[in-house]
Each structure stands twice: as C-alpha cells, then as structure tokens.
Amino acid sequence: MASKTLWIAVAVVVVVVVAAIAALVYKPSAPAAPTTSSAPSASTSTTQATPTSTTAASVKTVTIGALLPLTGSLQFMGVSGQCAIQLAVQDANQMFASKGIQFQLVVQDSACDPTAALQKLQTLYSQGIRFVAGLTCSSELSAVKNFAEQNHILITSISTSPLLAVPKPYIFRLPPTDNAQAKVLAALYHMLGIKRVVIVYRADAWGQGLTQAIINETKKYGIQVVGAFGYDPSPSAMPAAEQAAVQKASAALGTPGPDAAFEIISFDQDGAAVVQAAMNDPVLSKVRWFGTDSNVYGTAIMQAGGQALAAAKFMGAVASPNPDDPHYLHFANEFKKFCGHAPTGYDPYYYDTAMIIMEAIAETGSTDPTVINSVLEQWGKNGTYVGATGPVYFDQYHDRQYASYLIVGVVIVNGTPTWINAGFYNGTTGQITVFPQGQALFSS
C-alpha cells in the first residue's frame, strides 16, 4: 500500500526534474534559433522579411518582453498597447537594421493581476529576457518591483500612481505622474474663472490619485472641489455605477453657473457612460466639462455624446511637446494603418515604453540591463530620446518629467463634433496659449 503512494511521489519528482531539464534545454536555443526560423512569421513584421533573411548571419537578435493586461478588466488597454508595442518593434527593426540588430517580442498576459504579473515576469526572466515593456497597472508594478531590482530586469511602465514616486532602480515610467496633469487642469479652471468643481472618477489607483492631485492643486487657486464621486470601473454586472456617481455629483454641485465645472476622470469606454448620464442631467448639462488625457481623443465618448461634449465646451489636457509634433503625427498615422483604429489614451506611451529600450540598446550596442539603466538615466536628464510622446525627461525616481500639455477640446466642425487642439500649456512658464480654432471654447 505504502509503496504505491511512494511511487507516485517519486513520479512527481521525476516530472518536476523533467520539466526543469526541458526548461534548461530550451534556454540555450532561445536567443539563437529565432533569427532564421520564426522571425519572418512573428506578428511584428510582414514586410521586413526579406532584408532579415539575407543578413541573418551577421544580425544580432535581442528579445524584449511585454507584460500587458490581455484579459480582465483592462483588456482594452492591453490589446491596443500590444499593437503599439508591435508597431514599435517593427519600426525599430527598420530603423536599426543598419546596426545589425534585430528585435523580437515576447508578449505575456498579466491580466492586471499582481500575482500573475510576477509569475509571468519570472517566466520571461527564465527565457533570458532582461527588458520588459508596457507594464500597465500600478499594482503589478508594486508586485514586481523587488524582483526586477534584485535580478536586474529593466522595466518600462505606463503606471502613473503617485504611490510609486519612490526610488526604483531598473523601473522607468513613461507617462508623467498625475500631479503634472492636475496642475494643468487647475490652471485651466483658473483661467476660465471657475470656482466650484465637482468630480466623477474611476475608483482605481489612477482615478483616485488624479482626483487627490486635483484637489491639492486647485486649493492653490482658491478653487473649491465640492465633491468627488467614484464608480467601480470593473466591467461588472451593472454599468449603472457611472450614472449614480453622476447623480451624486449633480446634487453636490446644486446649481449651475459660469463659475461651476464638471470634471470627468475616466477612460474612453466608461467615460461614454458618464457622458450619457450627465448630458440629461439638469445641473451638469449647463456647466463646463473637463476630461483627462485618457478620455480626450476617445471614440466611444464622442460616439456617446459628441453634441453634448461640444455644448459643454469639453476640454482635457494631453502631455505633448508641441501641437503639431511631427513625431506624434507620424506615430498616429502609422498606428492607424497598423492597428486599424486611431490611437487613444496611452497608446503613444506604450509605443515609447518599447521604443526607448530598443533605441538605447541599438545606440549603445549593449544588452546589459545595468548599462541600459544608466543610459536611460542619462538620456532622461538630457531629453535625448524623442518619441511619440515628445522628448522624454526623467526625474530622480525615473518618472517622466514633462510639463507641457496640449489642450484638446470638442467643437462642431461642419455639423459634426470633432476633437481639436484648442491650446497649449507651457510647463516652464505655466502660461496657457489659446489657438485661433480654440477661441470658441475659451469664450464664455
């Protein structure tokens, strides 16, 4: 009797050993094999197949990883981000072909779950991957922080949570923290003579952080946030939470007026539900509306209530160096061709998370994460890297420092509501310049 169970236990050990050996056997083949066999078939490139195969012998292949929420509540960000990162890899292979470097991408699904994120990062590590782009949720970043630091894995993330504004070697965050955006919004309120603001926000780390930042920043101008109401953003059983938050916001604001404003801290899809609820509200439909970098340029929010957005003179701020920045325009163009839809929210940041790593590797010729870490620190000081989101400066915590924002709004053009570039916030001077086409939005 006992012997049988012993055999089973022994079998378990054998299976584990076999698995370990399988992993071991796989390892050496990882960097070598893909150059010839699987590179042309990878989803990253279809057109570059010919130059790759001819120069295969002298080409050095570098595999980078991407850890994205491809399932779960943030799937919409992850899928779009995956496309942006694939585009970056394709671009990099075109740009750096002359340097004899070929990039490959391995994508893992983190599901925005910190447990899964760490496990997948460890899997990537075991495959010899030392550069991982696109980490999305701040909870994931918190979970992988120590592992990345200890094992020297360079990670670029799009998390914006102020909680992670701490020293974090090997981790870089591409979007500016929420405080920068809050500064712009507060300046914008002040310029338009707004004294009372009511906020509806996604109740996640991002929404809460930005809300808190706006409350802090508006105090400096004597603007009062009369209420902030969150809604559960998980794609749950009932999307009525946005509506309830809007109702509460309406009650908190009480009376409309030129000194009142409604701030929508949402992404695109959930923002659509907020807009639909607010456009029929007797109070909120009579005040100015503001958005964030994650819902301006959105398609769902525009589809849900473009007319209402135009009527409410909806404006939001997107970190951008220059209204007609050729880098962004180029990216937007390419992205549309490659992914089939216009980039929204964080897509340009996803692109840059991958591109900045690949550019650093190509420029230095090093694949040592410690070297690349110091290169990025240096680049961050000088703004050497210029990507889809403009020149990238990092502060001492490896967080994006970039204070200039484009102010984007909705106006009616030829009868259809359209996103326009209404103004520009200069981070160094704190001045807002209004563009001619944006005059209507800034008039009272």
Binding site: G72, A237, A244
Partner: protein, 315 residues
C-alpha cells in the same frame, strides 16, 4: 418628491433590460442543468460566440453595425451558439458522461472548455483585426438596435428584449408541451433510465437540447452586447450573476430561470437605487448590494425564491 419620469428612466427601464438579459442567459443554463446536470462554466462563452457571430456577419455583409441590423443577424447568432453548444456536448461532455465522470469533473471540464472557446475567439479576433482592420473588441450593439422615433435606445431595448424573451418562451412552451419531441424530452429529463428503457435515445434528446441551449444563449449575447462592451469575456464576466439567477430560480424548470433572472435584475436596480443611494454609501459598492440581497435571501429562504413559490402552491 417622486418623479415619474426619473423612476421610469432610472429604475423600470434598466431593470427590465437587465432582467431580460439575465433571464435569457438563465434559460440556457437551467436547461444545461436539468438535462445533463452540468453547472457549465463555459455557458457565458456561448453568449460571446453569439455576439461575435453577429459582429462578423454584420461586418462582412454591411461593413459595420447599422440600425436594426442586429435582428437580421439574430438567426446567425442562434446558429453559431447552437453549433458551439452542440459540439461541446458531442465532443466533450457526452464522452465524459459515458466514462462515468462525476458532476464536479464535468464542471472542471467546462472550465477548460471556457479557456478553449475564449482562446479560439480571441485568436480569431486578433486575426480579423490585423487582416481587416476592424476593431474587434469593446464595441457595442446599441447602435444596431432599431430606432423608434420618440423613444430612447434603452426604452427600445427594453421593448425588443421583452418581445424576444416572450417569443422564445412561447416557442419553448410549444416545443415542450405540444410536440412529440417535447414529450420525449420531458420524459428524458424526469427519468432518464425509464426513458431509456422505453427505447428513447436519451443522448440524442440531450444533443438537441444543447442545440436549443446554444441558440437561446447566442441571442442573449446580442442583448448583453447592447449594455456591456463586447469582448471575448462578455459572458464569462457575468457568469456569477447568471448562476445566481439560475439557482434562485430553483433549478427545476426553464420558467424558474426566467423568474430568477427577473429577481436578479430587479433586486440589483432596486437595491442600488433605494438602498445604496439613501444610505449614502459610496457608489463603488454597487456590486455588493445585489450580492447582499442574494445572501440575505438564501439565508432567510433556504430553498430559494422558487422554493417559496412552490411551498405556497402546495398549501
């Protein structure tokens, strides 16, 4: 101050829409339960299959979702759902039942089936996205609803979903009570060994019921897609509440499933409007309210709501 318009807009219309969605989804799961005894985790994926069949049909035919067009696609959604449900019965559950798999094993197999269907759908979507440039995720069928002047989209959906639910119920009633197949099927459900002894091919009956399960759930997928953003997880994310509806409905007849759907739908909307808001609890707790109601119901009425109804009928 009681505002009739607000009450209608904020309570009645959403409650009807949610109830109909959960009722449609519950019919299928109840049938799965009373025929093959599987609490299937892959049930939500049948709804996603229906939604994606609709999407691809409309895009290949019209290149987009036009007003009213989802009703053209409804037979396609039903067919696709039925096909996948049939295949999952023939390919997975039937052989396993033959090998004497227990209910829990079938349930975990359905969990595997969920990953399989989800994965295949997601692969197809990724291909369609790259090949045709369609954004295959996070779209909504609300633009495909018929437009009736003077009515908002959710009012129209409340009406159409009710009509569809009633039509399906009528069809099922006719099938089960007025046709020979219905007699055979009810016999197989009530007493499978006896039915087998009488020469009824019970497995064939089950296979046909799986066709019906898939068809109804595929249609439910279209209505889910009018309220929730469509992804491959459209049904999976709502599965806990579908289970609640089915269990509350009593697991005995498909009409119980409909009652369960209505109880879930109304308790969510009422609990949300009349418990959460007056108590001034933060809106983040929205999901907790329906759950609390279900917990309270189960604790106070251990036989489920349908049990209460059955008890009253008996007395």
């Amino acid at each position: 101050m009681f505002n009739m318009y607000d009450f209608l807009n904020n309570v009645v219309i959403p409650a009807i829409v949610y109830s109909n969605i959960y009722a449609l989804a519950s019919i299928g799961l109840t049938m799965t339960y009373i025929t093959t005894k599987i609490p299937s985790f892959a049930h939500g994926d049948l709804a996603a299959v229906g939604a994606y069949a609709t999407f691809y049909f409309l895009y290949f035919l019209f290149g987009g979702i036009k007003p009213g067009s989802v009703y053209l696609a409804m037979p396609i959604a039903a067919l696709a759902g039925a096909a996948v449900a049939y295949l999952s019965y023939i390919g997975v559950f039937k052989p396993m039942i033959r090998r004497g798999a227990s209910v829990t094993v079938l349930m975990i197999a359905s969990f595997g089936l969920h990953f399989l269907i989800f994965g295949i759908l997601a692969i197809l979507d990724s291909i369609a996205q790259t090949v045709y440039g369609w954004s295959t995720r996070n779209y909504s069928f609300s633009t495909g609803e018929v437009q009736i002047p003077g009515l908002t989209q959710s009012e129209v959906t409340a009406i159409t979903s009710s009509v569809v639910l009633l039509l399906i119920l009528a069809a099922l009633y006719y099938l089960l009570n007025r046709t020979k197949f219905g007699v055979v099927m009810r016999a197989s459900i009530d007493n499978a060994p006896l039915a087998r002894a009488l020469g009824i091919d019970v497995e064939r009956v089950y296979a046909i019921s799986w066709l019906i399960i898939g068809a109804v759930t595929g249609i439910a997928g279209i209505y889910m897609g009018m309220i929730f953003p469509v992804t491959e997880e459209l049904g999976w994310l709502r599965l806990p509440l579908i289970f609640v509806a089915v269990i509350v409905g009593g697991l005995s007849s498909i009409y119980g499933g409909v009652i369960g759907g209505y109880i879930v739908g109304w308790s969510m909307v009422l609990g949300f409007n009349y418990i959460l808001n007056p108590l001034n609890l933060p809106p983040e707790y929205q999901l907790a309210i329906p759950f609390a109601i279900v917990i309270a119901t189960l604790l106070l009425a251990p036989q489920g709501i349908a049990g209460l109804i059955a008890a009253r009928r008996r007395t």
